[in-house]
Structure formats: C-alpha cells, structure tokens
Symmetry: C2
Subunit: 374 residues, 2 copies
C-alpha cells in the first residue's frame, strides 16, 4: 500500500506540474465541462426537448468531438462537421430515394452498392495531402452521415425529417462549442505559432551570443564543457517542423483577432520556421565543436579569437533583435546593423586567415540565413 500511495502522490504532483506549466489547460477543461452542461440542459427544458427529440443526443456528441484546445481547431472541426453533414445528408436522401424505386429486393443491394462505392472513393480522397491537412475530419463525417441516412430503412418523409433533425442538432452543438471556445478565455493557435517562431529564433540567438565565449573558454581549460549547459536549449528547434505545420493549418481557420487579420499570411511563418531550422542545423554543427574531444591547438585559436567572438555575438544579437521584432510586429533596423557588424568581422577574419581553418565558411552561411530570415 505504501508503494501505491507513493505512485498516487507522484501522479498528483505530475498533474499539478502540468497545470502550473500551462494554466490554459485547466481553463480549457472547465470550458469543456461548461459547454457540455449547457447542451445537456436542452434535455431538461420540455419545449426544446420536444423540438429536437432523440436527436439532441447528437448535439452532445458534437460538442465532445468538436471542442478542441484552440479556437482554430474548434472552428475547423465545427465547420467541417456542419458542411459535411449537409452535403452527405442531401446525397444520402437522394441515394435512399433511388434505392426505394427499385422495389423490395433491389433496395438492400443497391444501398449496399452505394455505400461501398462512396465509402471507398471518399476514403481514398482522404489520402491526398492537401485534403488531409484541412478537410480530413469533414471527409470522415461525410462517410458517416451518408451511410446513416441512406441505410436507415424508413419511409421517405421520415428519412428527410431524421436528416433535418440531425443537421439542426449538429449545428446547435457546433455553435455552442465555438461560442464557448471563442468567448471564454480563447486560445488562439495563431498567436501560439507567432510566439513559437519568435522563441525559436531567440533560442538560436542566445546560443550564438554565448557560443564565442564558451568556445574560447575551453581552449584555455582544454576540457570540453558539460552538455547540460543553458546554451543547449536550441535543440528543440531541430525537430519543431511538423508541429509548426499543423499549427499553421489550424491557424488558417481563425477569424480576425488581436493584431492578426483573417487570411493572415500563415504560410510565411512556415518559411521563416524553415529558415530558422536550417540555421539550427548549422548551429548543431557548431555545437559539435564545443563537445568534440579533439580541439584545435591554442595558437590557432588565438589568431581567430577576437573576430570569431564578434561574429557569433553579433549574429546572436541580430537574431534576438529579429525575434523581438517579430514578437512586437514592428520594424527595426537594429538587426541589420548587427548583421553588418558581423559581416565586417567575417571579412576581417577571412583576410587574417586565408589558409587552413574551414570554420568561417559556416559562419558566413549563418549570416546569410539570418539575412534571409529578416
């Protein structure tokens, strides 16, 4: 029992950690509870209950499935669900009517055939990357609604009524989700993406600013530094690609908010993110020099020390400047100044040692990346 208690305490601590880490997650949990409670109240008000009937169940289902952490995701799923239900419902009623025309025995065969064909085609369409990115959920709901409507073996008018009930309750559920999600402490995924891009650039800047000092410090000690240094925070940038992409896809659903317009150029963020990642790869290779067991001899280091430190710290400052420019959405020429400084230092370095060291090639490329990122 003692060991079990330890486990439970550890679990509770982890939960607390999670909540502290991002309080928006706690708020989100409350919001889901609230939206569900609101929708479930429809069951208890008689006039409403009679209007929706059993279909009110679909409203609850919709809230559970549609309500996501960010506004963009919720809106995307809600719109997908409503549109797909509408089109698939219409198509399903058509298929059902066509099938009933063919008589008692022909009906099940024809319906089965329709279901097979439509489900197969739409499933295949889901593999197309562009559709998968934005309309995957809608495609799923399309198959679902089409099957439900066309298969259910009722009379015509009942099918139409059923389709209408289903549609109206899904609209109700989606709207409830979107309203609660948007108006109570909204989480804009666009803002998250914006901040993440800036933070990533900043991390690289911090690394570069510290790199020069760090590198020439080891040359004096002769010992590689430990790997858990604060400079290593840039590592997360290396693998952030797929996350940024899905965030940009969701952000495209969001309406105008804060400093962002509708149809904000989210794709540009991806480009900046990619350049940042290219830069991170180069920084990774610079980092290898820090942790490498073989270090170049002190005399060589002393020749290049001054310029290299200037280059890397100026690059770092330029990147940090860029990050703050992005964060505040202003324009500034300070970054360009830093880049000019570091380019000048690089030229000097080149003239000092035209001979053997291959390292300044890397530096130059970083400067190029920095220049592109602006």
């Amino acid at each position: 029992p003692k060991r079990q208690r330890g486990k439970i305490v550890g679990f509770a601590l982890r939960l607390k950690e999670l909540g502290k880490d991002d309080p928006r997650k706690i708020i989100h949990s409350f919001k889901v509870g609230l939206a569900l409670t609101l929708v479930s109240l429809f069951y208890y008000f008689k006039p409403l209950y009679e209007g929706f009937g059993l279909a009110a169940m679909w409203a609850i289902l919709t809230v559970v499935v549609v309500f996501e952490f960010s506004v963009g995701a919720t809106l995307g799923r809600g719109l997908n669900r409503m549109l797909a239900t509408l089109t698939a419902g219409a198509l399903g009623i058509g298929a059902h009517r066509l099938a009933t025309l063919s008589g008692e025995t022909g009906e099940p065969i024809l319906v089965a055939l329709f279901v097979f064909i439509i489900a197969g085609i739409v499933t295949f369409l889901r593999f197309i990357p562009q559709i998968k990115a934005r309309y995957d959920y809608g495609m799923l709901i399309f198959i679902l609604t089409f099957c439900l409507i066309s298969v259910s073996g009722y009379r015509d008018e009942e099918v139409i009524e059923m389709g209408f009930e289903r549609l109206s309750s899904i609209v109700l559920g989606s709207c409830a989700s979107v309203v609660v999600c948007t108006f109570i402490c909204p989480v804009w995924i666009g803002v998250d993406l914006h901040n993440q891009i800036a933070t990533n650039i900043e991390k690289l800047g911090i690394f570069l600013e510290g790199f020069g000092d760090e590198y020439f410090k080891i040359s004096e000690d002769g010992q590689p530094i430990n790997k858990s240094s604060s400079l290593q925070r840039y590592k997360s940038v290396l693998t952030s690609g797929s996350k940024e992409e899905s965030m940009a896809n969701l952000a495209r659903w969001e309406p105008c908010h804060g400093k962002f317009r509708f149809r904000h150029p989210w794709k540009e963020y991806l480009k900046v993110g990619n350049v940042t990642r290219q830069c991170a790869f180069k920084i990774e290779s610079l980092n290898n020099y820090l942790t490498s067991e073989i270090q170049s001899p002190p005399e060589v280091r002393n020749i290049i020390k001054g310029e290299c430190t200037v280059i890397s710290s100026e690059c770092g400052k330029a990147l940090k400047e860029l990050a703050s420019v992005i964060r505040k959405m202003t324009e500034s020429s300070a970054a360009e100044l830093h880049i000019t400084n570091s380019k000048a230092a690089a030229e000097k370095l080149k003239s000092v040692i035209r001979s053997s060291l291959c390292k300044h090639g890397d530096y130059l490329e970083i400067i190029q990346a920095g220049a592109v990122a602006s």
Copy 2:
C-alpha cells in the same frame, strides 16, 4: 471551361500518382467500403435488426471512426472505444440512478453537476503526455458515453437497456473493423516502422559512401556541386522524429505477426532512430562543406584525401551493412569490420595532420554514432 478541364485532368493525374505510389491505399479504400457494407447489412436481416434496433446505427458509426490504415491503429481505437464505453456506461448508469434519488427538481441539477465535473477532469487528464499517446481516443469516448447515458431522461431499466444495446453494437462494429483490417491484406505499422528505420540508416550510408569522392572532386574543379544530387536523400531523416514516435505508439497495439512478437521492443526502434538522427545532423554539417562557397585550398586537401575517402566510404558501407542487417533481422560482423577499417584510417589521418584541420573530429563522432547504432 478549358482551364477547368485542365484542373480536373491534373487532379485525376494526381490521384493516379497517389495510387501508384502506394497501392495499399487503394486496397484500404476498398476495405473500408467492404466493412461498412457488411455492417449495414445488419439493417436488412430482420432477426438481427430486431435484436439491435436503432442501436445498429452505432455499429456503422463505430466502423467509420475506428477503421484506420494500419492494423495497430485500428486495434488501438477499437479497444479504446470498447473499454471506454464499458466503464463510462457503468459509471453513467450509476450517476443517473443517484440523480433520480434526489427527486424531480434535484435531478437535472445533479446530473449537470456530474457532467461538468467528469468532463472537466477527463479533459484535463487527456493533456498528460503518456495518456495522450495511447489512450486519447478512449478518454474522448469516455466523456461521450458518460454524458449520453447519464443525461438521457428515461427510467432506470430503459437506461440499462440502452447502455447494453450501445455497448453490444459498438463491440460489433469494432470487431468487424478489426477483422476486415487484419485478415484482408493487413498493413502492419510495425513492419513500416522497421523498414523506415532501416531505410533511414541506408540513406545515411549512401551519402557517406559518396561523400568522399564528391568532396575531393570539387577540390579539383573548384566549383561547388549542384544541390539536387542523389546524395541529398538523407535530408528526410532530419525531420522524421515525430512520425517515428507515433508509429511506435501504434505498433505497440499490434499482436504477433510475421517475424514480430507481441510486445516487440518498439522503444528500441526509437532509440536507434534517435541515434540515426544525431548522425544525420552531423552529416548535414558535412554536407555544408560540399555546398559551401569557401573551400579549403588544394594542397591541404591532397594531404588528407586518401584517408578521408577511406573513412567516409567505410563508414557508409558499415551503415549500409547495418541497414541490411536490420532489414533481414540477422546478425553479421561485416559492419564491425568496416568500422574497424575506418577507425584505423582515422588514426592514420590524425597522425598525418595533428595540426590545423578540425574536420576529423566530425568523422570520429560519426564513427561513434555508427558503433552505437549497431
């Protein structure tokens, strides 16, 4: 109209491309159609229809939502759905009974409270990374079923009957999906993961094998090579991390198949994948030397040419050997031989130039990575 026709033709060509690229996707689409048709037949056989009633709708819904591309994903979703429905149904019936005890007016308030609390807590639990990785879908279904069962304002025995119907039709739908997915041309995500790891290592091997020749060829021409070379295939390895992780999570659901046992050590694949990625980062920095505008002078190159070519081609052979060993799941000592060769060449290189070039540090690390990967 001509432009529109061009668009449609382009779309059709893209679909054809997609099908050619991976024929399993076409087969998958047929399988989904088949599973749905099978389940929808339940509506047409009277005895079965009376047994399930309206709840048969849930079976169709289950198939649409549960049927995924790979066996692992389908099994995972199916099990999640069944377990979550079972536990949430039991809990929901309990909550409903508790609420009815408190009389006409107390009932809606109490139910609303239950829904709010349970939905909030479970939504928060979904943020825990370990739960998100494997049980996210189950948590969603848990909230859904709990709300549906506890909210529906029927009498006790009807609620129990409803829960039972729902559960049995969900079991039916899940089983149909799993059976069709597993026994008709199954797609094992474990096999995919296994092959991807091997392919990634192979790509690095191909790069290293060609790198030495390529690098010293430019020293003769003095021109950097073009970037679209076949050596650049390794780039995809840099960003494969999150995909591998989700594949491993899904693979853990799969039963014994082919050469893989149940509880196959999928986590080891992630470790190998990580080492491979580390190695790819180092290769990225080597690649920078190829495309860099500043190249070291020919006299330096000639000193190191022989040994460097041996190191990189031996490393490449070792990695390719490792890839084929993984692919065939056999043991082989050929890779170690290549590593020994390249280590010897590296030692020679070190003794030749103890002075200025910092490049062999990189090589050594690659050899280490290669050794770890075995």
